[in-house]
């Protein structure tokens, strides 16, 4: 029987689908079970559907063997976390001086820019629209492109490590 024919035949019985699911797993409350039993007595399709449900349950049972993580699992997870945390700490202590240095560089660059700009304004005072000076371009770039991009948070780095471990397979 095609699925479409089947649906047609089951029409009217759809309202029992959720109940049949519960019934098949023995979870249908007694009162509803009584009502369903009455329907089952007169409905061949639903009886067949219930048979199917039981057959499937039997088949899928082949996967029911529990996967035992074993006692070492927790230790392995915690060791992995420890390694990642350690790495984050090391990265932080590596980036900190560079971060400070880059801020200093950015600060002096902006200072130089301010000086040049005020100088440019004074020297170009008569012209209405001063041409952008070639000297200014690399200086402004120092702001557009961050000199260093230290990892923003420990979380992100941990995530990245987690991902990296994940790539391994």
């Amino acid at each position: 029987m095609s699925e479409q024919q089947e649906q047609k035949k089951m029409a009217g019985c759809e309202k029992f689908e959720a109940a049949l699911e519960d019934y098949a797993s023995g979870e249908l409350p007694r009162r509803d079970a009584k009502r369903l039993t009455v329907h089952l007595e007169s409905c061949h399709e639903c009886r067949e559907a219930l048979e199917d449900a039981r057959l499937s349950a039997r088949l899928v049972a082949v996967f029911s063997e529990a996967v035992d993580p074993g006692p070492g699992f927790t230790q392995r997870v915690m060791a992995q976390i420890h390694v990642a945390e350690h790495w984050v700490r090391e990265q932080r202590s590596f980036w900190r001086p560079i971060e400070a240095w880059s801020w200093r560089l950015a600060l002096s660059a902006s200072l130089a820019l301010a000086l040049l700009f005020s100088y440019g304004l004074r020297s170009n005072a008569p012209s209405a629209a001063p041409e952008p000076s070639g000297v200014l371009v690399p200086q402004t770039d120092a702001f557009a492109v961050p000199i260093s991009a230290p990892p923003s948070t420990g979380d992100e780095v941990l995530m990245a490590i987690a991902e990296k471990h994940h790539e391994r397979y």
């Binding site: 449900a53 996967f63 915690m78 976390i81 979380d155 995530m159």
Partner: protein, 216 residues
Amino acid sequence: MDNVPKYVAASATAVAMTARPRTAKPDDRELVRAAQKGEVVAFEELVRRHQQRVMAVVGGVLRRREDIEDVAQQVFMKAYVSIGRFDMRSAFSTWLYKIAVNECWDYLRKKKVRPLSYEADLSEEQVRHVEQFVSTDSHGGGNPSDRAELREIVERLLGELSEEDRVMLVLKEAQGFAVEEIGRMLNLNVNTVKVRLFRARRKLAKTYRRRVGAHS
């Protein structure tokens, strides 16, 4: 494990318990709160408590058994990293299982796992094997290779279902999750889960009749 630091290996009973007698085990919420404050031992206890069920979720989605532990570890790494953002509006286990399911989908996507050649005919021996399993109450044959073969056969029959339906069926029927839990994991309402489960069961049974029953 030599490289496990002392504070990690310390017993979780050392977790400071608030408003509870020392003898009572802290519940998940207490452990989560402690872990959010950075207490590693509290997180360790959460891992210990939930590892079996997380394995069951991951095992319900992934086909290759050898991947299950790796992905389960990954789930706990992600949980550790984002536990600060967990707002306790659901049970910790629900939150964790959602991470597990997402991690599995990611894994399948990244690995681009190809379905087995499901339509290939089953051998006569395989047909006999699965029929025998269905008609008896055995747990799938005495030796591991028999069970592995049965799993492979059923996996091929399940290949005709959508990935999500297959997962639902395995989580419910083989891993023993309640429909409510499955609904929360997959963001579906309980009734939808029931109806889809029931239809998936029917479809599997039909596939079985067509591919196994027809041979006998």
